[in-house]
């Protein structure tokens, strides 16, 4: 039992190290990104534009639900004016980057792992290696870079749509004027809130891209292996994004507190 646990931990560390190596190698290849512009555009289209509708729906509905839940409580304490501040801060600091990450990892990360896994099974990745084309440069780098570019844009969109959803419910259910909602949000939000959210989203993008590409490129077996790679990629990404979010939030809070003091 102890030996099995030990083996599991060693394997997890090895795989984490392998994923990190892939991420570093992919980021080092950015210097030759001009050679992958077609791939980059294709991946941007897939990761960015393809996620807009789903993310808008999810962010908008989340903003509306938050406004409904919070509004009832705040109205009871006569603090309805703070609704804009609460929803604005929640979205810019947490909900925007997290929802963008969850949608992207489920939609794009899983399809990346499955696509690369299928390429491994079909010997396409082996063919690339034999042609002296590094799969990390040719396949992983454009995907990871596309995610790093797309995620802050998606996060900004999620922030805007989420806040708009909240403003709509605040106005229609509690009669809070739109300008008061926006003023309330502006009173609490700082540029740090917004940019820390964008920074988080870029880190999440790197995590999602690296985990998905690593899992895909190390697929073993046939169709079953592809399915397994996809599932494991989603599970690990959810875990790493949440752990990463906790750590980044702690660091950002520590830094902003130090700045205030």
């Amino acid at each position: 039992m102890l030996a099995a646990t030990g083996r599991l931990i060693i394997q997890a560390c090895e795989e984490a190290g392998r994923t990190l190596r892939l991420l570093v190698a992919a980021l080092l290849y950015i210097r030759v990104i001009h050679r992958s512009h077609k791939q980059l555009v294709r991946q941007l289209d897939h990761a960015g534009f393809g996620s807009i509708v789903v993310l808008s729906l999810v962010a908008g509905l989340t903003g509306m639900i938050l406004a409904m839940q919070m509004g009832t409580e705040l109205e009871r304490y006569g603090a309805l004016d703070s609704l804009g501040a609460i929803i604005g801060a929640t979205f810019c600091r947490e909900m925007g980057p997290i929802w963008a990450a969850i949608i992207v990892l489920a939609r794009v990360g899983s399809s990346m792992a499955a696509e690369l896994g299928t390429m491994v099974v079909n010997e396409e990745v082996e063919a690339l290696k034999i042609m002296s084309i590094d799969p990390v440069r040719y396949l992983a780098m454009p995907r990871i870079v596309a995610l790093i570019i797309a995620m802050p844009l998606l996060t900004t969109m999620a922030d805007v749509v989420g806040i708009a959803g909240g403003a709509f419910v605040s106005h229609s259910l509690y009669g809070l004027p739109y300008d008061k909602f926006i003023l309330s949000a502006q009173s609490l939000l700082t540029s740090t809130d917004f940019f820390s959210g964008l920074f988080k989203s870029m880190v999440f993008a790197a995590i999602i891209g690296a985990v998905a590409c690593d899992r895909g490129l190390h697929t073993k077996g046939g169709a079953e292996g592809v399915g397994k790679a996809t599932t494991v990629s989603v599970m690990l990404n959810v875990l790493f994004v949440l752990v990463g979010d906790y750590m980044l939030t702690a660091i950002i809070q520590f830094l902003t507190r130090a700045e205030i003091i």
Binding site: M119, E124, E126, A127, S132, I133, Y138
Partner: protein, 285 residues
């Protein structure tokens, strides 16, 4: 009495069946292009290649026959450079594959063409981009030159280049995909071509077409070819020499006629397709 019902002339022990054959002396008019000596490969406790000795003469086609699990693919991957050598030596065109630097691997791979079982074309690329991939990504050749060389390679494999350049692999038939894969393998004028079960999953007419193409390429390009296959007809059509791989060793080697006459019981069972013999003994038990 049919061929498959004939009793074996001699009782072979397991050790005799797994006994590696020595390579014959090199004929005066031949030159060795691929020389493999005492090649071993282990995956954990599994000893897959157990001391392979094999010579491939320059400009010839050698077919490696073997049943599933005999180590054919593992053996091939050493020549592709995707498996490291545990023990032994692999020498191709004067290069020792166990001592190559990254740059030397790059040069070796430019001299190597691999034809995969399922063609291994990239689904997101057109025929032009697939065939021209090594020129685009490795040689970084100008667009016009890439187009010309791709058309030339497609013509060599008897494909209507202009009609299919902009098509994607899923818009091609199985036989055409295979030919496009061959075009990609020969576009850099390799000195060695590896064929991984080139006729698997193709109809008899396309199989004959691929066999003819293999012979044609050997004649026109003068390349050395190594083929792994289960397809006996294909093997006898295209081979100059045949090696039979069994349990990680080359246990029979010779020309087509010598292999046809070979008494090795596993080889005989494979050639006749008999359900009685050492390969199926365990099933009966």
């Amino acid at each position: 009495m049919t061929d498959s019902q004939q009793p074996l002339a001699k009782e072979w022990t397991k050790e005799e069946m797994e006994q590696a054959v020595d390579m014959p002396p090199v004929p005066e008019d031949k030159e060795i292009f691929v020389r493999i000596r005492n090649l071993h490969k282990r995956f954990g406790p599994r000893h897959i290649l157990r001391g392979i000795d094999l010579d491939v003469y320059k400009g010839e086609t050698l077919v490696v026959l073997g049943v599933s699990g005999s180590g054919k693919s593992t053996f091939f991957k050493h020549l592709m450079g995707t498996h490291t050598i545990d023990e032994g030596t692999v020498e191709v065109g004067g290069r020792h594959l166990d001592h190559l630097s990254t740059d030397e691997w790059g040069a070796y791979r430019q001299d190597l063409g691999v034809i995969f079982q399922m063609a291994a074309l990239l689904g997101s690329l057109t025929v032009l981009e697939n065939v021209g991939l090594p020129l685009i990504e490795v040689e970084r050749a100008p667009t016009e030159e890439i187009r010309e060389r791709v058309i030339e390679a497609l013509h060599r494999v008897f494909l209507p280049a202009e009609e299919i350049l902009s098509l994607r692999p899923d818009e091609l038939s199985g036989g055409m995909r295979k030919r496009v894969g061959i075009a990609r393998a020969i576009i850099q004028n390799p000195r060695l071509i590896l064929y991984d079960e080139p006729t698997t999953g193709l109809d008899p007419v396309t199989v004959s077409g691929v066999n003819e193409l293999t012979l044609e390429l050997q004649k026109t390009l003068g390349v050395t070819s190594l083929v792994i296959t289960h397809d006996m007809e294909a093997a006898f059509t295209i081979a100059d020499h045949i090696a039979f791989l069994y349990n990680g060793r080359i246990v029979a080697y010779g020309t087509v006629d010598e292999i046809r006459a070979n008494e090795h019981p596993v080889l005989r069972q494979l050639l006749t397709g008999s359900t009685t013999g050492p390969l199926t003994e365990d099933y009966v038990k």
